[in-house]
Amino acid sequence: MFADSLTLTAELAKEPLYQGGSAVNDFIFEEPDRPVTLSSEGSEVAYSHSGLAWMSLPGQFGAAGEVSLQVEIETLLRGIREQGVVLGRIDQVREYLLQFPDLLDIVPVVIYSTRKHFPEGQLTLDIYRDPEIEDQYLVLYVRLAHYDETTLDRLQKAEAAFLDALSDREGWIQLTTDFREPGGSNVL
């Protein structure tokens, strides 16, 4: 099932859904005339000594080979916001991702899958704290103008795309709904 998440990730990279701007053309090479060769079998694979400028790829999740957790998180949050996802308590979301960076590659998959099943919904990424057992985790809320009998079924289908891949992570992200209207009050 882990392969499913990779498939989704690859799909993500191909589709423009998560790209707020241009893609590969926006990469900046600081020394295009002197690439570092990584392999050579009919072609050369190269990367910049300075890495790829992380802010030069707007909206793309995960800068290439990024080694800074803060920068990776910032890029992720920016990409999430550019996709119209509402960020709840952003400082706490950032802290959680910093504590559990193994979620960084799966959060886009969760959003992608949820958006696929709820194209009309408002998505809100926030943190949930359980005061009774001092537990906390990320939560992605789906908020709809109208809830019906298909809502829970769609939630389950969206969740099925990433649940197995999530099972071996240290951190957790829960997909759910709080039955609120987009930006509004509780509909129940």
């Binding site: 600081e30 990584l38 190269a46 790829l52 957790l69 960084l104």
Partner: protein
Amino acid sequence: MAVQYKNPPIVEALCEFRLGKDTEWDLTIPGQLYEKVKSQFPLREHRTVQVVEFAFQPQNVQQQIRTEERVLLFTPDRKALVQIGPRLLVVNVLKPYPSWKGFKPLIETAWEALRQVVALKTLDRIGLRYINRVEFETSRVDLKAYFDFYLYTGARLPQEYASFVAQALFSFAGGRDHCLVRLVSAESEAQRMAVLLDIDYHWARSDAVAIDRALDWVEEAHSRVEEIFEGCITDELRRILNT
């Protein structure tokens, strides 16, 4: 930073070693490294990261996106970690920054452990990077009041940004080293403005320094980063950082 601030803005510092492709690497190395450093970094995890590469062919350039497995070794408080990937070693420390006196020994530990388990031949890159986050209590800020490195826009352009990036690559040590400095807007709570000042001091070319002198270079890089940071900020920001 040499100047001690009451509220230092450093949210992450890292030291990165990228080994040359002629250095043999196999899947047992992360485990061997873990054995060497587990007294300090006992929490072992792994994650998948995306790596983008470019294939230069005679007629075109092709983008390749692949995934790479990294092993992450955390300290018990999860405030420092070692990342190990194929021919890659990174030592990160998170907020609160433990000072150079606390950070450098972690770099030394990881580097020495690497040298014990890998026959190093060449190094492609060493980098020392500091990421600072400054958050203001208002949503509109005149950056030049706080930074001596910022994005200038003329009077005929809108003075309000949705987001921005100011970036420059500076040359040091006669071209041996480069420092990429970026000032970028960051996501923040509503009604607040935040920026990241990212200072990435690194080798400009492969094998810039002999492997045996790698840690000397790191010490020198730290001095340069301190100078660059101080060169990027104004007295007004210093005052805030000391409040």
